[in-house]
């Protein structure tokens, strides 16, 4: 599904990805944990093709195709979805126009307003959102929790095969976290081949979305890999206090 090989990237003189390698197979859930500034969000932007985050070297393959020549929208059309840590608010562009355009571009045909609203109806209910948000500007005046739910709403609409969740749990209260995770789980049951790369600071979300692998990322690369217990150990002992006993084989 996704293969990242020896990624190197610097920004403003700081090495953010340093020979980073990771392979994610179909249907797998990988969690990445690590201190602030260690390159986790950088990785998500590199994968999505943010123009300010270009690689110095390395290769990324998605379903056997190199991602590097592809623009951000082309990567999204291939089935990659990034739920962002801080989703943008965009004045003047309504959520409905945005989502309908995204769906039309994906389907390659114009989606009428009636068909669109039908598709949105259940997803909005599932996420316990107010349908009035469709007519407001993108994320404008949304709380942190509403913004994250809006990301998941987009995910449900666009039906990606690789989901990158960049700190989807930050800014969410306990109830909202549960709703968001339930929706992701429901999506996984419906589309079991979907892979997830989950970036987080807290193991709580991993209790809802069980990872196959937990990676500790430091200084731009994966230092250790384990399972859910490894995440709990990180929470207990901190990134510098985890012992070697928890280390599984590096997942390559």
């Amino acid at each position: 599904m996704l293969e990242m090989k020896n990624l190197k990237m610097s920004l403003a003189g700081k090495r953010l990805l340093d020979d980073f390698s990771l392979t994610i197979k179909e249907g797998e859930v990988h969690a990445i944990m690590g201190p602030n500034g260690t390159g986790k969000s950088t990785l998500s932007k590199v994968l999505m093709g943010h123009p300010a985050y270009t690689l110095e070297s390395g290769e990324i393959f998605f379903n056997g195709e190199s991602l590097l020549p592809l623009s951000t929208d082309e990567r999204a059309k291939r089935g990659i979805f990034l739920a962002m840590q801080n989703p943008m608010s965009i004045e003047g562009v309504s959520n409905s126009e945005f989502l309908r355009t995204a769906l039309s571009e994906k389907e390659g045909t114009h989606i009428g307003i009636f068909d669109f609203l039908q598709q949105m109806d259940q997803a909005i209910k599932d996420l316990n959102m107010d349908e009035k948000m469709l007519h407001r500007s993108i994320n404008q005046g949304f709380s942190g929790g509403e913004r994250k739910k809006n990301e998941i709403l987009q995910m449900k609409l666009l039906k990606p095969s690789l989901i990158i969740l960049d700190e989807i749990d930050s800014g969410l209260d306990v109830d909202s976290l549960k709703i968001v995770c339930e929706n992701i789980q429901k999506y996984r049951i419906e589309y079991p081949k979907t892979s997830i790369l989950l970036i987080t600071h807290y193991p709580r979300i991993l209790e809802y979305i069980k990872p196959d692998f937990v990676h500790m990322m430091m200084n731009g690369k994966i230092e250790k890999t384990g399972d859910l217990n490894f995440a709990l150990e990180i929470e207990k002992n901190g990134y510098h206090g985890v012992n070697d006993m928890s280390e599984l084989k590096l997942h390559e």
């Binding site: 999505m48 929208d73 962002m84 943008m88 003047g92 309504s94 989502l99």
Partner: protein, 247 residues
């Protein structure tokens, strides 16, 4: 819908509602009314008197013209204007002459040749309100100026005077905003916001990350920036945005 059309300085007046009196270049609003003013390849000059307690919903479509528009608002009157301009230089003066009068003015413009908006809002009476939103897109390599003045004299209190001015420069044009608030009374609310620049890279990235092509993203962003939920009919929409892709 009442309509005044000016093409190459020739005026055609079509009134379907009572309540509007049009004499040469002066429009008297005696009842609540809607009016569409279309100006093409002309130099137009109009004065609007909005009588006490009346409301005018005014839509303006203007292309390749120089317009001077003068508005007088009497007590408790309301003027709501959606003004779309393409390659125009406009002089707009609004005088809030009656207490509780209220001006809502949305001006959206695109230009390929040097253009300017000179606007003055004069809060001549107390408890008057103005909300002005001027958004421009400088498409090529020419100049675009917004020169916007809000004035509240010492004798006017309880006024609200807001202006929001933004210009996006798409290529190498020179854009300038000169916002001025001339406030002599302390018991008022006055704000201005000014932004000159381009679309934010993060906005483009966010939209593109949902599979929307760059060209379509620009369309969405420009439409949001220039119309910002203002209701326009399909013909007006197409007329306005066709300009963007014309050579």
């Amino acid at each position: 819908m009442n309509k005044i059309t000016v093409v190459k300085d020739k005026i055609l007046i079509e009134l379907e509602q009572s309540g509007l009196m049009v004499q040469e270049h002066t429009i008297e609003v005696q009842q609540d009314a809607e009016l569409l003013l279309v100006v093409t390849d002309s130099t137009a000059n109009f004065t609007f008197h909005i009588e006490e307690g009346k409301k005018l919903d005014l839509s303006i479509k203007s292309q390749n013209s120089e317009n001077t528009l003068y508005y007088e608002l009497k007590k408790n009157s309301i003027l709501c204007t959606h003004h779309l301009a393409l390659d125009c230089t406009d002089q707009i003066d609004a005088r809030l002459l009656g207490e509780e009068s209220n001006l809502e003015y949305h001006y959206s413009t695109m230009n390929r040749k040097t253009s300017a908006l000179h606007m003055t809002i004069d809060h001549a009476k107390s408890n008057t309100q103005s909300n002005v939103q001027n958004h421009g897109v400088n498409l090529k390599d020419q100049n675009l100026l917004f020169d916007i003045t809000g004035r509240i004299p010492k004798s006017s209190h309880g006024c609200i005077c807001n202006q929001d001015n933004k210009i996006l420069t798409m290529q190498k044009g020179h854009s300038r905003i000169e916002p001025k608030l001339l406030i002599e009374n302390h018991d008022v609310e006055a704000n201005h916001a000014a932004y000159l620049g381009q679309f934010k890279e993060e906005e483009l990235f966010y939209l593109m990350s949902r599979g929307i092509s760059k060209e379509k993203c620009y369309e969405l962003l420009l439409e949001g920036f220039l119309l910002n939920h203002d209701p326009v009919d399909r013909d007006t929409h197409d007329w306005f945005f066709r300009f963007m892709i014309e050579k």
